[in-house]
Symmetry: D2
Subunit: 77 residues, 4 copies
Amino acid sequence: MWQEKDNKLTRTFKFKDFSEAFAFMTRVAFLAEVHGHHPNWSNVWNTVQIELTTHDAGNTITEKDYQLAADIDKLLA
Amino acid sequence: MWQEKDNKLTRTFKFKDFSEAFAFMTRVAFLAEVHGHHPNWSNVWNTVQIELTTHDAGNTITEKDYQLAADIDKLLA
Amino acid sequence: MWQEKDNKLTRTFKFKDFSEAFAFMTRVAFLAEVHGHHPNWSNVWNTVQIELTTHDAGNTITEKDYQLAADIDKLLA
Amino acid sequence: MWQEKDNKLTRTFKFKDFSEAFAFMTRVAFLAEVHGHHPNWSNVWNTVQIELTTHDAGNTITEKDYQLAADIDKLLA
Protein backbone atom coordinates (compact mmCIF):
# COMPACT_ATOMS: atom_id res chain seq x y z
CA MET A 1 0.00 0.00 0.00
CA TRP A 2 1.01 3.61 -0.56
CA GLN A 3 2.19 5.46 2.52
CA GLU A 4 2.35 9.18 3.17
CA LYS A 5 5.69 10.19 4.61
CA ASP A 6 7.60 13.48 4.54
CA ASN A 7 5.08 14.93 2.10
CA LYS A 8 5.61 12.05 -0.29
CA LEU A 9 3.38 9.20 -1.34
CA THR A 10 5.60 6.12 -1.35
CA ARG A 11 5.28 2.46 -2.21
CA THR A 12 7.76 -0.36 -2.66
CA PHE A 13 7.14 -3.07 -5.26
CA LYS A 14 8.85 -6.48 -5.37
CA PHE A 15 9.09 -8.64 -8.47
CA LYS A 16 10.53 -12.01 -9.44
CA ASP A 17 13.67 -10.61 -11.00
CA PHE A 18 15.17 -7.55 -12.68
CA SER A 19 13.45 -8.20 -16.01
CA GLU A 20 10.01 -8.18 -14.45
CA ALA A 21 10.86 -5.13 -12.33
CA PHE A 22 12.10 -3.13 -15.32
CA ALA A 23 9.09 -4.09 -17.44
CA PHE A 24 6.93 -2.64 -14.66
CA MET A 25 9.08 0.51 -14.66
CA THR A 26 8.53 0.87 -18.40
CA ARG A 27 4.77 0.77 -17.86
CA VAL A 28 5.02 3.32 -15.03
CA ALA A 29 7.10 5.47 -17.39
CA PHE A 30 4.23 5.38 -19.93
CA LEU A 31 1.82 6.55 -17.23
CA ALA A 32 4.22 9.28 -16.13
CA GLU A 33 4.42 10.64 -19.68
CA VAL A 34 0.64 10.45 -20.17
CA HIS A 35 -0.02 12.17 -16.81
CA GLY A 36 2.75 14.69 -17.40
CA HIS A 37 3.80 13.85 -13.85
CA HIS A 38 6.94 11.89 -13.03
CA PRO A 39 8.08 9.87 -10.04
CA ASN A 40 11.19 9.99 -7.93
CA TRP A 41 12.08 6.34 -8.03
CA SER A 42 14.84 3.86 -7.49
CA ASN A 43 15.51 0.26 -8.41
CA VAL A 44 17.74 -2.47 -7.06
CA TRP A 45 17.41 -5.83 -8.85
CA ASN A 46 13.80 -6.95 -8.25
CA THR A 47 12.71 -4.01 -6.10
CA VAL A 48 11.24 -0.70 -7.24
CA GLN A 49 10.61 2.13 -4.81
CA ILE A 50 8.39 4.96 -5.99
CA GLU A 51 7.98 8.34 -4.34
CA LEU A 52 5.36 10.76 -5.60
CA THR A 53 5.24 14.43 -4.73
CA THR A 54 4.31 17.60 -6.59
CA HIS A 55 7.30 19.89 -7.02
CA ASP A 56 5.16 22.74 -8.40
CA ALA A 57 3.04 22.69 -5.25
CA GLY A 58 6.05 23.13 -2.95
CA ASN A 59 6.77 19.40 -2.72
CA THR A 60 3.48 18.41 -1.19
CA ILE A 61 1.17 15.55 -2.08
CA THR A 62 -1.55 16.68 -4.46
CA GLU A 63 -4.34 15.16 -6.51
CA LYS A 64 -1.79 14.54 -9.30
CA ASP A 65 0.09 12.15 -7.03
CA TYR A 66 -3.03 10.26 -5.95
CA GLN A 67 -4.13 9.88 -9.57
CA LEU A 68 -0.76 8.58 -10.75
CA ALA A 69 -0.62 6.21 -7.76
CA ALA A 70 -4.07 4.87 -8.62
CA ASP A 71 -3.06 4.24 -12.24
CA ILE A 72 0.16 2.51 -11.15
CA ASP A 73 -1.89 0.23 -8.90
CA LYS A 74 -4.07 -0.72 -11.86
CA LEU A 75 -0.99 -2.17 -13.60
CA LEU A 76 -0.82 -4.81 -10.90
CA ALA A 77 -4.53 -5.53 -10.66
CA MET B 1 2.44 -22.13 -29.78
CA TRP B 2 5.44 -21.55 -32.03
CA GLN B 3 5.02 -22.62 -35.62
CA GLU B 4 7.65 -23.41 -38.22
CA LYS B 5 6.94 -21.65 -41.48
CA ASP B 6 9.23 -20.55 -44.33
CA ASN B 7 12.30 -21.45 -42.28
CA LYS B 8 11.13 -19.25 -39.44
CA LEU B 9 9.89 -20.03 -35.98
CA THR B 10 6.88 -17.76 -35.44
CA ARG B 11 4.46 -16.99 -32.67
CA THR B 12 1.85 -14.28 -32.12
CA PHE B 13 1.19 -12.92 -28.63
CA LYS B 14 -1.88 -10.96 -27.55
CA PHE B 15 -2.02 -8.69 -24.52
CA LYS B 16 -4.55 -6.48 -22.79
CA ASP B 17 -3.28 -3.25 -24.30
CA PHE B 18 -0.23 -1.54 -25.79
CA SER B 19 1.42 -0.95 -22.42
CA GLU B 20 1.36 -4.64 -21.55
CA ALA B 21 2.51 -5.60 -25.06
CA PHE B 22 5.46 -3.22 -24.99
CA ALA B 23 6.50 -4.32 -21.49
CA PHE B 24 6.66 -7.86 -22.89
CA MET B 25 8.73 -6.59 -25.82
CA THR B 26 11.16 -4.97 -23.40
CA ARG B 27 11.63 -8.32 -21.65
CA VAL B 28 12.12 -10.09 -24.99
CA ALA B 29 14.68 -7.41 -25.87
CA PHE B 30 16.60 -8.29 -22.68
CA LEU B 31 16.64 -11.95 -23.72
CA ALA B 32 17.74 -11.03 -27.23
CA GLU B 33 20.69 -9.07 -25.90
CA VAL B 34 21.66 -11.84 -23.45
CA HIS B 35 21.39 -14.52 -26.16
CA GLY B 36 23.13 -12.32 -28.71
CA HIS B 37 20.30 -13.35 -31.01
CA HIS B 38 17.57 -10.96 -32.10
CA PRO B 39 14.06 -11.42 -33.45
CA ASN B 40 12.34 -10.11 -36.53
CA TRP B 41 9.24 -8.77 -34.87
CA SER B 42 6.30 -6.46 -35.30
CA ASN B 43 3.74 -4.86 -33.06
CA VAL B 44 0.28 -3.40 -33.55
CA TRP B 45 -1.40 -2.14 -30.37
CA ASN B 46 -1.82 -5.24 -28.16
CA THR B 47 -0.37 -7.78 -30.59
CA VAL B 48 3.28 -8.83 -30.94
CA GLN B 49 4.39 -11.15 -33.72
CA ILE B 50 7.82 -12.72 -33.38
CA GLU B 51 9.78 -14.49 -36.11
CA LEU B 52 13.01 -16.27 -35.25
CA THR B 53 15.54 -17.39 -37.82
CA THR B 54 19.32 -17.57 -37.91
CA HIS B 55 20.74 -15.23 -40.57
CA ASP B 56 24.27 -16.61 -40.14
CA ALA B 57 23.01 -20.09 -40.95
CA GLY B 58 21.46 -19.02 -44.24
CA ASN B 59 18.14 -18.00 -42.69
CA THR B 60 17.26 -21.41 -41.31
CA ILE B 61 15.92 -22.35 -37.90
CA THR B 62 18.75 -23.39 -35.58
CA GLU B 63 19.24 -24.29 -31.94
CA LYS B 64 19.68 -20.56 -31.22
CA ASP B 65 16.09 -19.96 -32.30
CA TYR B 66 14.66 -22.79 -30.23
CA GLN B 67 16.56 -21.60 -27.17
CA LEU B 68 15.38 -17.99 -27.51
CA ALA B 69 11.81 -19.21 -28.11
CA ALA B 70 11.97 -21.32 -24.95
CA ASP B 71 13.17 -18.37 -22.88
CA ILE B 72 10.47 -16.11 -24.33
CA ASP B 73 7.86 -18.68 -23.34
CA LYS B 74 9.18 -18.65 -19.76
CA LEU B 75 8.25 -14.95 -19.54
CA LEU B 76 4.61 -15.94 -19.82
CA ALA B 77 4.72 -18.98 -17.55
CA MET C 1 11.72 11.01 -44.81
CA TRP C 2 8.19 9.80 -44.36
CA GLN C 3 6.51 8.41 -47.45
CA GLU C 4 2.83 7.96 -48.22
CA LYS C 5 2.12 4.51 -49.57
CA ASP C 6 -1.03 2.38 -49.55
CA ASN C 7 -2.76 4.87 -47.24
CA LYS C 8 0.08 4.62 -44.75
CA LEU C 9 2.72 7.08 -43.69
CA THR C 10 5.94 5.06 -43.50
CA ARG C 11 9.55 5.67 -42.54
CA THR C 12 12.51 3.40 -41.91
CA PHE C 13 15.07 4.27 -39.26
CA LYS C 14 18.58 2.81 -38.98
CA PHE C 15 20.65 2.80 -35.80
CA LYS C 16 24.09 1.64 -34.67
CA ASP C 17 22.82 -1.54 -33.06
CA PHE C 18 19.82 -3.19 -31.44
CA SER C 19 20.25 -1.34 -28.15
CA GLU C 20 20.05 2.04 -29.82
CA ALA C 21 17.13 0.92 -32.01
CA PHE C 22 15.11 -0.36 -29.05
CA ALA C 23 15.81 2.78 -26.99
CA PHE C 24 14.31 4.75 -29.90
CA MET C 25 11.32 2.39 -29.93
CA THR C 26 10.81 3.04 -26.21
CA ARG C 27 10.67 6.77 -26.88
CA VAL C 28 8.24 6.26 -29.78
CA ALA C 29 6.14 4.12 -27.42
CA PHE C 30 5.97 7.06 -24.98
CA LEU C 31 4.73 9.29 -27.79
CA ALA C 32 2.19 6.70 -28.89
CA GLU C 33 0.74 6.51 -25.38
CA VAL C 34 0.66 10.30 -25.01
CA HIS C 35 -0.99 10.75 -28.44
CA GLY C 36 -3.34 7.83 -27.83
CA HIS C 37 -2.31 6.74 -31.34
CA HIS C 38 -0.12 3.70 -31.98
CA PRO C 39 2.08 2.62 -34.87
CA ASN C 40 2.22 -0.57 -36.88
CA TRP C 41 5.92 -1.20 -36.61
CA SER C 42 8.60 -3.79 -36.98
CA ASN C 43 12.20 -4.19 -35.92
CA VAL C 44 15.12 -6.27 -37.11
CA TRP C 45 18.38 -5.66 -35.23
CA ASN C 46 19.29 -2.00 -35.91
CA THR C 47 16.35 -1.19 -38.20
CA VAL C 48 12.91 0.09 -37.21
CA GLN C 49 10.14 0.45 -39.76
CA ILE C 50 7.13 2.51 -38.74
CA GLU C 51 3.78 2.64 -40.52
CA LEU C 52 1.16 5.14 -39.42
CA THR C 53 -2.48 4.96 -40.40
CA THR C 54 -5.75 5.73 -38.67
CA HIS C 55 -7.84 2.60 -38.19
CA ASP C 56 -10.86 4.58 -36.97
CA ALA C 57 -10.86 6.58 -40.21
CA GLY C 58 -11.01 3.50 -42.40
CA ASN C 59 -7.25 3.02 -42.50
CA THR C 60 -6.44 6.32 -44.11
CA ILE C 61 -3.76 8.87 -43.22
CA THR C 62 -5.17 11.58 -40.97
CA GLU C 63 -3.92 14.53 -38.99
CA LYS C 64 -3.22 12.11 -36.08
CA ASP C 65 -0.64 10.34 -38.21
CA TYR C 66 1.09 13.54 -39.33
CA GLN C 67 1.26 14.77 -35.75
CA LEU C 68 2.75 11.54 -34.41
CA ALA C 69 5.23 11.47 -37.31
CA ALA C 70 6.29 15.03 -36.53
CA ASP C 71 6.88 14.18 -32.86
CA ILE C 72 8.85 11.05 -33.79
CA ASP C 73 11.07 13.17 -36.02
CA LYS C 74 11.77 15.51 -33.10
CA LEU C 75 13.35 12.59 -31.22
CA LEU C 76 16.09 12.53 -33.82
CA ALA C 77 16.57 16.27 -34.16
CA MET D 1 32.95 10.99 -14.33
CA TRP D 2 32.50 8.04 -12.02
CA GLN D 3 33.42 8.63 -8.41
CA GLU D 4 34.29 6.13 -5.70
CA LYS D 5 32.39 6.84 -2.52
CA ASP D 6 31.37 4.58 0.37
CA ASN D 7 32.53 1.50 -1.56
CA LYS D 8 30.34 2.45 -4.50
CA LEU D 9 31.16 3.63 -7.98
CA THR D 10 28.70 6.45 -8.68
CA ARG D 11 27.87 8.73 -11.56
CA THR D 12 25.02 11.14 -12.27
CA PHE D 13 23.72 11.59 -15.82
CA LYS D 14 21.59 14.50 -17.06
CA PHE D 15 19.42 14.39 -20.16
CA LYS D 16 17.11 16.73 -22.04
CA ASP D 17 13.93 15.27 -20.59
CA PHE D 18 12.38 12.16 -19.05
CA SER D 19 12.00 10.38 -22.38
CA GLU D 20 15.70 10.64 -23.15
CA ALA D 21 16.63 9.68 -19.56
CA PHE D 22 14.44 6.57 -19.61
CA ALA D 23 15.72 5.50 -23.04
CA PHE D 24 19.23 5.62 -21.53
CA MET D 25 17.99 3.56 -18.56
CA THR D 26 16.63 0.95 -20.96
CA ARG D 27 20.04 0.65 -22.59
CA VAL D 28 21.74 0.40 -19.18
CA ALA D 29 19.21 -2.31 -18.30
CA PHE D 30 20.31 -4.28 -21.40
CA LEU D 31 23.92 -4.04 -20.24
CA ALA D 32 22.99 -5.09 -16.71
CA GLU D 33 21.27 -8.22 -18.03
CA VAL D 34 24.16 -9.06 -20.34
CA HIS D 35 26.73 -8.53 -17.57
CA GLY D 36 24.57 -10.34 -15.03
CA HIS D 37 25.34 -7.37 -12.79
CA HIS D 38 22.74 -4.78 -11.85
CA PRO D 39 22.92 -1.20 -10.61
CA ASN D 40 21.39 0.54 -7.64
CA TRP D 41 19.92 3.50 -9.43
CA SER D 42 17.40 6.28 -9.18
CA ASN D 43 15.71 8.65 -11.56
CA VAL D 44 14.01 12.01 -11.21
CA TRP D 45 12.74 13.50 -14.47
CA ASN D 46 15.88 14.08 -16.62
CA THR D 47 18.43 12.86 -14.08
CA VAL D 48 19.71 9.32 -13.56
CA GLN D 49 22.00 8.44 -10.68
CA ILE D 50 23.79 5.12 -10.86
CA GLU D 51 25.61 3.37 -8.01
CA LEU D 52 27.62 0.23 -8.71
CA THR D 53 28.82 -2.13 -6.03
CA THR D 54 29.26 -5.89 -5.79
CA HIS D 55 26.94 -7.36 -3.17
CA ASP D 56 28.57 -10.80 -3.42
CA ALA D 57 31.93 -9.28 -2.55
CA GLY D 58 30.66 -7.72 0.66
CA ASN D 59 29.48 -4.53 -1.05
CA THR D 60 32.85 -3.46 -2.35
CA ILE D 61 33.81 -2.18 -5.79
CA THR D 62 35.10 -5.00 -7.97
CA GLU D 63 36.15 -5.54 -11.57
CA LYS D 64 32.47 -6.25 -12.38
CA ASP D 65 31.60 -2.69 -11.44
CA TYR D 66 34.41 -1.13 -13.47
CA GLN D 67 33.43 -3.19 -16.50
CA LEU D 68 29.76 -2.25 -16.31
CA ALA D 69 30.70 1.40 -15.79
CA ALA D 70 32.94 1.28 -18.87
CA ASP D 71 30.13 -0.17 -20.99
CA ILE D 72 27.66 2.42 -19.71
CA ASP D 73 30.08 5.16 -20.70
CA LYS D 74 30.26 3.74 -24.22
CA LEU D 75 26.51 4.40 -24.60
CA LEU D 76 27.25 8.11 -24.42
CA ALA D 77 30.36 8.12 -26.58
